[in-house]
Every structure is written in C-alpha cells, then in structure tokens.
C-alpha cells in the first residue's frame, strides 16, 4: 500500500508539484471521488477569496485565509466517515465544507454575529471553531476516549498548526491519547508560519518525529498533495478505528496569504518565498494530474469553476443578509436555566421588570 513509502525519509508524496505521478498513485478512490476532491478544493479556494473580499468590504470582521492549505484540509477531512468527529482550530473552512457544515452558518463567526459555535457541532460532527491554540486537541482525545468506551468504530480528527505544536496542550493531548490508546488522528498543518514566526524558530526538531516519543506512529506528508494527505489520513483513521490508537500526521504546506486580514506578512517574509511556494499550489498540481490521467477534462475543470462561482455568490448573498443579532442575544443561555443575577442583568439591559 502507498503509505508504506513513508519510510523513505522525505515526506510522503504521490504527485509531484508539476502533476507527475510518483509511482503507484492508487489510493483506493473511484474516479468520481477523485473528481470530488478537485471540486471541493476549487470551491474552498473560491470561497476563501470571497471571504477576503467580504472582509475588505466591511462585511466580515477579521478573517484567517487558508489559501494554499486546501489539499491538507480537503484530503484529510475526506478520509473521514460520518460517524467521526472533527476538532478544528480556526482556519479550517475548507475542512468544514467537506464535512457539510453550512458555510453561511460558519461565517456567522467571521461576520461577528456569533462566537465559534454558530453551527450545530453535534449534528455536523464538527466542533466549534477554536481559537485558544492547541486546546481543541485535548477535546479530541476526550471525545475519542468516550467513543472507545462506547465501543464505537469512530475516530476524532484534530487540526492544529506548527505554532500549536509548542503549546503544552499539544503535549498533554498526545500523551493522553497514547496512554488511553484513544482513536485520534492529529493533523498538523505545518504552514511554516505562526503569524510572523517561522517554523524553524518554533521548533528545532521535526514535528512528526515527536509521535515516537509518545509511543505512536507519526509521519510527514506533502500537505500540498491531496492524494498523499488522503492516503495518510485514511490509514491513520483505519488504525484508530481498529483500536490501534492515535497517529500524528504532519502535512507540510504553506500559508500563501496573511495569518489573518489584520496581518501584514510583508513585514516578516520575503515575497520571493511566497512566489516559490505558490508554484507548489495544491490545486494546480492536482488538476494537472487529473487532466493528464484523463480523470477530468477541460470541460469538467470549467464546470467546477462555474459551480464554485455560483455557490459562492449564493453564500455571499446570504452572508451579507445576516443581520446584527438583537440585543437579547447577549443573554443567550449561559446556563441551562438562567440564574437570578443574570435575569436581573437581562432586565437591566433590555428593560422590563427591574430594568
């Protein structure tokens, strides 16, 4: 099987940046699903562009673009089943699309009309957007332990970045998952920059190698190679479901855009570096690969772009119609039943008895 090639030293890579297959590229997906991967990446890219535009137009608050990381997210999320549970950080809009989270609901977060759980996390099996760095990894371990106790054949997949690998919660989560043999797939999107700090200043070692110290497998994949990411994740998911415990996948990618719309990357990185990595673009690579193999034709590629255009227009129209929440939403449930003190504050803020 493909993932066996991981022992070769370099990251697992199935498709070269120019789209050339590197040996056996059969990841076990039928052609319609191979096409679906492209369709999802194109949609994610187009939506990301639109979100940047919406932010510039004042329709969204701060937005963290994922441009360049589509393969890392789509390839990994695509390897999951409906019973699995995703624990994202805050840049996983592409993964959310794969999991069927309503992008309009998701974007309530970036519109500033609600916090990180604007969609239903239980129905979508996609936990709330998580900003405190690496904290979501512990949640994933707990969910996975709970699933194991229930005897479910399901796993948790947790996303984090290279910067998060420095946090204590990353260490605690890995260690707990290992000790409990919890069915977790840790997916590090190493996009080489934690805001302005390059990964070489974040860690002196290699992130994937830490898995060995915890007592479970780790591997590095080319995070811009959607098939490699899919294959690696698929194997980790199977291991988890089979009761063999966690896996750490380091998907090496590159954040082509700013950390967020509040960030100015020209202050800390060379534009030439960005150009160099832009040449490794995950979508262009995969499209070239599929075209060369005849899995898609130009008409499909064009239809994909058109469909993305149409869907994003719909999303945009819906997002700009999201009204500012009424003041009453300040007092959305803090507890299952409000305390007397909170009830008084509600009355004080909104009028009514005691106000």
């Amino acid at each position: 099987m493909i993932v066996e090639r991981k022992g070769t030293g370099g990251p697992l890579r199935l498709v070269a940046p120019d789209g050339t297959p590197m040996g056996d590229v059969d990841v076990g997906l039928p052609e319609d699903e191979l096409r679906e991967l492209l369709r999802l990446m194109v949609l994610a890219r187009r939506l990301d562009e639109e979100c940047l535009a919406l932010q510039r137009q004042g329709e969204l608050t701060v937005y963290p673009p994922h441009r360049g990381q589509e393969a890392a997210q789509v390839g990994s999320a695509f390897a999951l089943g409906p019973e699995d549970f995703v624990f994202p950080s805050f840049r996983e809009l592409a993964a959310a699309l794969v999991r069927g989270v309503d992008p309009v609901e998701y974007l309530e977060y970036h519109r500033g009309t609600w916090h990180g759980g604007p969609y239903d996390p239980m129905a979508t099996r996609f936990a709330p957007i998580c900003v405190p760095v690496a904290t979501q990894l512990c949640h994933a371990v707990g969910w996975a332990l709970g699933a194991r106790l229930d005897g479910l054949r399901a796993c948790a997949l947790a996303y984090f970045g290279d910067g998060a690998s420095s946090e204590g919660d990353f260490h605690e989560a890995c260690n707990l998952a290992a000790v409990w043999r919890a069915p977790v797939v840790f997916v590090c999107q190493n996009n080489r920059w934690a805001i302005s700090v390059p990964v070489r200043s974040q860690t002196a070692g290699e992130i994937w190698r830490r898995a060995e110290g915890y007592g479970f497998p780790g591997l590095r994949v080319d995070g811009n190679d959607v098939l490699a990411v899919y294959a690696a994740t698929r194997e980790a998911v199977e291991r988890a479901r089979a009761g063999e415990g966690p896996t750490l996948i380091e998907a090496v990618t590159y954040r082509l855009g700013p950390h967020s719309t509040a960030d100015d990357p020209t202050r800390y990185r060379d534009p030439e570096e960005v150009e160099r990595f832009a040449a490794e673009d995950p979508i262009a690579r995969y499209r070239a690969f599929l075209l060369a193999r005849g899995v898609v034709d130009e008409a499909f590629v064009e239809a994909c772009a058109k469909e993305a255009e149409r869907r994003v227009a719909e999303i945009r129209a819906a997002v700009v119609r999201i009204p500012p929440p009424p003041a009453g939403e300040l007092f959305r449930p803090v507890f299952a039943a409000p305390t007397a003190a909170l009830e008084r504050q509600r009355a004080e803020a909104l009028g009514g008895p005691g106000g």
Partner: protein, 319 residues
Amino acid sequence: MVAALNAALRDALASDPRTLVMGEDVGRLGGVFRVTDGLQREFGPERVFDTPIAEAGIVGAAVGLCLAGWRPVVEMQFEGFSYPALDQVISHVAKYRYRTKGRVGLPLVIRMPFGGGIRGKEHHGESPETYYAHTAGLKVVVPSNALDAYRLLRAAIADPDPVVFLEPKARYWAKEEGILTTEGPGIGEAVVVRDGAACTIVSYGAMVHRCLEAAARLEERGIGCRVLDLRSLVPLDLGALGEAVRRTGRLVVVHEAPRTLGMGAEIAARAMEEAFDHLEAPVARVTGYDTPYPPASLEDRWLPSVERIVAAVERTVSY
C-alpha cells in the same frame, strides 16, 4: 465528609452508567484524600480511572467526553494544582453553552480540595474560588458539612452545567450524624445554620464552623447572630442574603481567601444593592490577608480566627 463524598460518587456512578470519575491517583489509591476509595474496584477501570499528571489535558479531555455523551467527574488533586487547567476552564468549560447558542452544555464536575488549616505545604492551602466565580458560565459550590457534601455533589453531578466543586480540606475528617439524602436545599440556596437578631455572619466552607463557634461565644455576651452558609457562590442566593440583612441590619463576611476582590467584596456590594436602607453599620470582612498563603506554622495567624470574627461582630454591632 470524605465518606459522604465517596458515597455521593458511588451512588452517582451506580445510578447513571454515563458517569465517569477521573483524575490523578483516583483509581487504585482512591485519591490522596481517599474520596474515591474503592470506586475503581466497584465500577471498573473504564469508569473510574487514573490520568497522567496533566491538569489541562484532564479537563480538556473531560470536555470531549461530554461531547461524546459522558458525564465526567474530574478531580484536581489540590486547588493549587488546578491552575494549569484554567485555560480549558475559562476558555471552554465555562463558555461552551454560550458559544454554541445554547445547543451544547457540558455536564461536567470539577472537584478539588480547597482551603487551608491542615498544616499543608505551599500550594496546598489556597482558596481560588474567586477565579471560578468571576468566570461567567461556571457554577461554584462549596459544602460546609458532610450531609451537604453528599447532597450538593449529587446535585452537581446531575446538573446540566459545569460545576466547580470545592471541598474544604479542613472538614474532610469531620464526623457528623445524619442520613445521606439528595432531598433538601439544592445548588443556589443558602441555609441559615443559626439564627439571631443582632448581626448576620455570612460564610461558606470550613469557615462556617468557625463562624458558629464565634456565634456561640457572642451569644454568651448577649449578641445573637444569624449564620448564613452560602453553600453555592454561583448562583449566589441573593434572596437569603437580602433577607438576612433586612432582619439583622448588620453583616460580617468571613472567608479564607485574600480580601481584595474576594467573595466578601461581592457579598458586601450585593447586600448594599439588596437592602441598603436596612444596613445600620458598614459591612465588615474577616478574611485571609493579601499575601500568598503562609507556611503551616503561620497559618493560624492568617486564617480568620474565632477571635477575629468575634471582634468584627462586636465592632459592627457597636457601630
């Protein structure tokens, strides 16, 4: 009280198969204070289990367990070791229901021994209740006696929201008579544990007993005190507090935690809001000092003593 807490956990584990007990040394050892003694043997290592020493990870994992439909009861071994978990508690445990528009609550209990008076080493005698009480979305519960420890812990485990459950170490070995029951006042209800007309003394946890001792001594001097055991800091029983101030016109607040921004500040402000016109003297506070918790040989000088409470009441009454 340890036996009452142990019984509460046992009965909760027996009555709801989704309840879990987890923490450092809670399994085979039964906890450093033996609160979980025998539970692993009875309910098995899947429902009562030791964790690595990783407080943030323990609480974070408990969040995930809640999402998977479990009801974890987490033990922090000492209050002074609970701080690594504060990020998980403040950023996630407290906010989950709100962040998810009310869709996802976390039925999670975080138990921890708290307070001083047992000749502990540093980090083993602290009173962190304000950190939790100040964080919107947490309930904060403090029993003062064994029967309440049982009742309140059962209520905390049954509660749909996260509860920080503070167990007064100084009362762990206190023996009391009575029948363990879930009946009686619940979370958010203060209890008048002694009545008197001259002054109200409000407290919680181990200090309630010191207040009762002070009240007995004051009675001998003809000063009758109402002693109000808060039992729960969030929600705070504003009705009972207002009623006590209206009845007695005078209020002394007693707690171990340092004075600045301690619960006494909140209680004084609430008393003023509830019943300013009934106050006949400034609200007095008898508390720990604004220093780190002192070494064992000095703790008696730091903790509110019966003498300090008596003196504060006398000052308040003669104001």
